[in-house]
Amino acid sequence: MTALACRHVGMRFGAFAALTDVSLRFERSRFYGLIGPNGAGKTTLINVLSGALQPTSGEVELDGRPMHRASRHAFARQGLARSFQTSSLFNELGVRESLVLALQAKSATQSAWRDPMADARLCAGADAMLGRLGMRHMADERVGALAHGWQRLLDLGIAFIGDAPIVLLDEPFAGIGHSAIGATEDAIRELARGRTVVMVEHNMSVLMRLAEDIVVLAGGQVLARGTAEEVRADAGVRRAYLGEHA
């Protein structure tokens, strides 16, 4: 079953074409990798797929439903969550508070007039996520005061906490310390179970381990797609993207 699809999507910024005729289908419960050179249009594609940008041509379908001109919150309400390449956080809030907020977005039972921070269930949910990310001791820190790496992890946690069936991740490993990569990888693998995940990543070893399918973008177009081995073997991909890392 297709969870997310785009057909003939084009995205122009003035004269510059960031995406040209991109058609992709992402099936339920699979883990996709999205790679490509800098400026290939990966983040732009994520933006289009999450309602952050309206494509200049083509359409996006979420769970079989066309999302023409829908905005971010409509995508989110339809069960799509995402992380950001440069952490996008609530700097003045606390760490736990941020996660509670994200969790609350999905819980319809929550009355609009109750204090979510006084809701034990929400707080427990947030703490569980913090535990998984190894950040429990920072629950009360101010987000803006976290070191870069921790902010990246929190960004990831916010994307996953609402149990959205579709999650788009934009370079989740960037800025994660060498020592924390293994743990983060495990956490993502765990959290991704049963969901559709599309992950942009430049860390090839991690990506090859996590992704079942890989899509390669270059110059705003799909250059190749296939399994890790197929992609690694592709000469065009080696030239444009991997270099000696193949």
Binding site: P37, N38, T86, H148, A180, G182, H202
Partner: protein
């Protein structure tokens, strides 16, 4: 070799670096302390950089690497300690003076001027400095042709990797004697990392001193001549790359799981 040593060697490969001959000392930091208001984060760091040397600063997330770099660059006030640049005291110099005296800072969070074009960002990088090896043309031709393609675009609409390139390019345009780099390869595609590493090797060999914070340990493996390990705001170890790789316990404690 046991597994621990093996992984330590994998992390810190002493063989990869063509350790260049180091020249005169250009930057010295003594007992630096700095923080964000309540209590110091970095507690008494000391280090020295020589021309042609490359010092890699490593440590887990949140140990204070960025804080150390920012304090050296004058972006964060030092609460204690001394800073000498080219042998002369520069403890109280403001950040613009430090830059004019040859110290360039390339921040981790990019900090491009988003509402300015690529061209204007580069212009500002070169504005206060005389011409040298690195000019706008040289940076674009030799390092990042992609920036040339996006020359008139606002920096804020560049892709993550492109912004990273712009940050590096902008820093190089001051033709610095000391280069402070905070996670410069974050967000760069693998081919670009190669280009960058080669450029850094050349820059280092041309006699520039550099200090490099990196999470992608493949990069310092190819560039660094010396290592500095941080933990909880303190320098817990510093020395040659080869020595670090040999000290498996140390690597495990501070760098691995």
């Amino acid at each position: 070799m046991n597994t621990l040593e093996a992984s330590a060697t994998r992390a810190i490969d002493p063989g990869g670096t063509a350790a260049a001959a180091e020249g005169a000392e250009v930057l010295r930091i003594e007992g630096l302390r700095a923080g964000y208001g309540a209590g110091d984060i970095v507690q008494g760091a000391s280090l020295a950089l020589a021309a042609g040397g490359a010092l890699a600063v490593v440590g887990r997330n949140g140990v204070g690497k960025t804080t150390l770099l920012r304090a050296i660059a004058g972006q964060l006030p030092m609460t204690a300690g001394r800073r000498l640049l080219g042998g002369q005291d520069a403890t109280h110099a403001e950040s613009f003076e430090l830059s004019r005296r040859g110290l360039a800072y390339i921040p981790a969070d990019r900090q491009v001027f988003k509402t300015l074009s690529v061209r204007e960002n580069l212009l500002l990088g070169a504005y206060a400095h005389g011409r040298g090896e690195w000019t706008k043309e040289a940076v674009i031709d030799r390092l990042f042709p992609r920036l040339g393609e996006r020359y008139g675009t606002l920096a804020g609409s560049l892709s993550g990797g492109e912004q990273q390139m712009l940050t590096i390019a902008r820093g190089l345009l001051s033709n610095p004697k000391v280069l402070l780099l905070d996670e410069p390869t974050e967000g760069l595609a693998p081919v670009m990392v190669d280009v960058f590493v080669q450029a850094m090797q050349r820059i280092r060999d041309s006699g520039v001193a550099m200090m490099l914070v990196e999470q992608n340990l493949a990069v310092p493996r190819k560039v660094a001549t010396r290592y500095l390990v941080m933990d909880a705001g303190e320098v817990v170890w510093s020395g040659d790359a080869a020595d670090l790789a040999g000290d498996a316990a140390l690597v495990e404690k501070y760098l691995l799981l």
